[in-house]
């Protein structure tokens, strides 16, 4: 399923706000997620959601925290992982 970065970011935003961080306010694309309360368990839950939602498999050794530290970075990471033919 081809996905656009914008769509990935929107899906991630809603999941982070409503299911993971349980905030009442939106999340900025460059807000630091770890400062916003993302922890180890929350990160695992986001990745499990991403795997199910986009039908991809993200091996533990591919998970680089710095690439997931903001919504925008996370969206780029997931888009790359979900794009067929990536190296």
């Amino acid at each position: 399923m081809p996905v656009t970065p914008d769509e990935v970011q929107r899906v991630l935003h809603d999941h982070l706000v409503n299911e993971i961080l349980l905030r009442r306010t939106p999340l900025g694309p460059d807000e630091d997620l770890f400062e916003a309360g993302l922890d180890s368990m929350a990160l695992t839950r986001v990745l499990v959601f991403v795997e199910d939602r986009f039908g991809i498999r993200i091996p533990d050794e591919d998970v680089v925290v710095d690439e997931l530290s903001t919504l925008a970075r996370m969206a780029r990471f997931v888009t790359a992982q979900a794009t067929p033919g990536r190296t």
Binding site: R24, F34, G37, D39, S40, R45, D62, V63, V65, D66
Partner: protein, 535 residues
């Protein structure tokens, strides 16, 4: 050793830290601090507290969002000046922190600059927090908190003194005082305290657990000897300070003159980042929960070993599945592995040195044998009050200097003494569960759920998720729509999870909350927790 005979050195003293001079006390990826500098910065924190009007012996809240050098400096400054640390969880909602600060009678808060927003929210939440504590003797509203703000290196950035007009609750440094009573009563103690930790309480409020210097002295002396901890060792800074594991990191390290290796919370968030941090920082000792080590092993490339400088691995807090422990042992072929056991109320009270030779055949990891300072007995669970002397299973009861009030403390853990003389954990006698090493009383989560106006009754159970491990699931019975206020919004799991997130730390918020009209019942009319877990 009885507490009264504890040597003068049993407390953390700034002079003892300073005497270690240029030896490295703290290191991170980019920075290092000598013991002399640690003592100097901790002294500045102590002085700032005095200047701010905080008496010796007073409880002082500690909050580090960035977990830089500030955390250890603040700890040393508070403890080294004879004050009592009340650590706050940077991941918990501000309302909960505000309640704890008030309930413990804290007159001061030492925090890092990174925690500024959380501190502002904590102070803003204070009126509600004081309303929630129906005791007018001890609580001090956070609006009269003195504040000492540190930068990430532990230098004092700002000091805000106590409001001179605020009444002094006159909280003594001993645990017999009212400061511990508002949230839950404790048996009286007469020992000087080092800190007050909080765990999940079955009645709906966090349970305060006073930790004495006598207890920390006994524990750290033993732990330093067990691990042969010495100058040159590098101890990884792992657990949150609200968790008793973290007190090994700081106090055993400083007692031995070893080096504390600090890393950011995000370095612990994924196996790969932890692996990379270890490769750079090369710790010699790590004390963590099994799930941390499992995450680390999963991120190692096939066949890769951990750096051989890692010589001691201590784990505690939950059961280590033997297959996962074997995988860790293979990746750290020269490290000694120890299973440590004990609830916060007893600190570590049993331990087991993992035998690599028999590890491949072992079906479970024992919790081992009692620590020399802990008297461990098994009480038959048939209500007879009989002690089990030989092999058998019963409730573990612990006494000794590390145990709350000296003991005897019934752990509510079922423990078996095997024919091999070793102790084995056999589960709980109550509903308490461990979520990634964190204690959760389902009753506390249920109480928070029923605070929601639409919730009539709530049940919370642990379930096993194939990818997330053990997680919580909630089930709530809601008021019939007619009874709800006309303006009431639709109640769903998301609304209730957000309600909980504003009251409880993240690990206490269930992954899923089902809404029903009546909770499932057994034939005898009791709540059917099994049905809820299986739903």
């Amino acid at each position: 050793m009885t507490p009264a005979q504890a040597p003068a050195g049993s407390r953390l003293r700034l002079e003892s830290l300073a005497a270690r001079g240029d030896a490295e006390a703290l290191v991170s990826r980019s920075d290092a601090l000598s013991y002399a500098a640690l003592a100097q910065r901790a002294g500045a924190v102590a002085e700032a507290l005095t200047r701010a009007g905080v008496r010796a012996g007073a409880p002082v809240a500690l909050l580090s969002a960035g977990r830089g050098f500030d955390e250890a400096v603040a700890l040393a400054g508070i403890l080294g000046s004879g004050r009592v640390v009340v650590p706050l969880d940077a991941g918990a909602p501000a309302a909960r922190l505000s309640t704890l600060v008030a309930a413990r009678g804290c007159r001061a808060l030492v925090h890092d600059a990174a925690a500024e927003a959380l501190v502002a929210a904590l102070i803003a939440a204070s009126p509600r927090a004081t309303d929630a504590v129906p005791n007018d003797a001890a609580p001090s509203p956070p609006s009269v908190l003195a504040r000492v703000t540190l930068d990430a290196t532990g230098e004092v950035l700002a000091v805000q003194a106590l409001d001179a007009t605020a009444p002094d609750p006159d909280v003594p440094a001993r645990s017999t005082d009212a400061a511990l009573s508002p949230l839950s009563p404790l048996s009286p103690l007469s020992e000087p305290l080092a800190c007050i930790l909080h765990t999940s309480g079955s009645t709906g409020t966090p349970k305060p657990i006073p930790i004495t210097w006598a207890g920390l002295d006994a524990f750290t002396a033993w732990a330093v000897a067990l691990t042969a901890l010495a100058p040159g060792d590098r101890v990884l800074r792992v657990a949150e300070l609200v968790f008793d594991l973290a007190w090994f990191d700081h106090l055993a390290t400083f007692r031995a003159g070893a080096t504390l290796v600090t890393l950011a919370r995000r370095d612990l968030a994924a196996g790969r980042s932890l692996r990379d941090a270890l490769a750079t920082l090369k710790p010699t000792v790590i004390y963590g929960v099994p799930s941390l080590f499992m995450k680390l092993v999963a991120a190692l490339p096939p066949g890769a070993l951990l750096d051989p400088s890692l010589r001691v691995i201590l784990f505690a807090g939950e059961v280590f599945p033997p297959r996962e422990l074997r995988a860790l042992a293979e990746r750290a072929p020269t490290a000694a592995l120890y299973n440590l056991y004990g609830p916060t109320e007893t600190n570590v009270c049993t331990f087991h040195a993992v035998d690599r030779a028999t590890l491949s055949a072992e079906r479970e990891v024992p919790i081992g044998i009692p620590c020399p300072y802990a008297a461990c007995t098994l009480l038959a669970d048939d209500g007879s009050g009989r002690l089990i002397e030989g092999p058998g299973t019963g409730e573990l009861v612990v006494s000794g200097p590390t145990t709350i009030g000296g003991g005897p403390y019934p752990t509510r853990d079922r423990v078996e003494r095997g024919a091999d003389g070793l102790l084995y954990f056999r589960g709980r006698l109550d509903r308490m569960v461990k979520i990634r090493g964190y204690r959760v009383e389902p009753g506390e989560v249920e109480a928070a759920l029923t605070e929601h106006p639409a919730v009539r009754q709530a049940a919370v159970v642990p379930v096993e998720d194939p990818r997330l491990g053990r997680v919580l699931r909630g089930c709530v019975a809601i008021e019939a729509p007619a009874k709800q206020e006309p303006s009431a919004t639709t109640i769903d799991g998301q609304v209730l999870r957000r309600h909980l997130a504003e009251r409880l730390p993240p690990y206490m918020v269930p992954e899923r909350i089902d809404i029903v009209h009546d909770l499932p019942r057994t034939v005898t009319g009791k709540i059917d927790y099994r049905a809820i877990a299986g739903a």
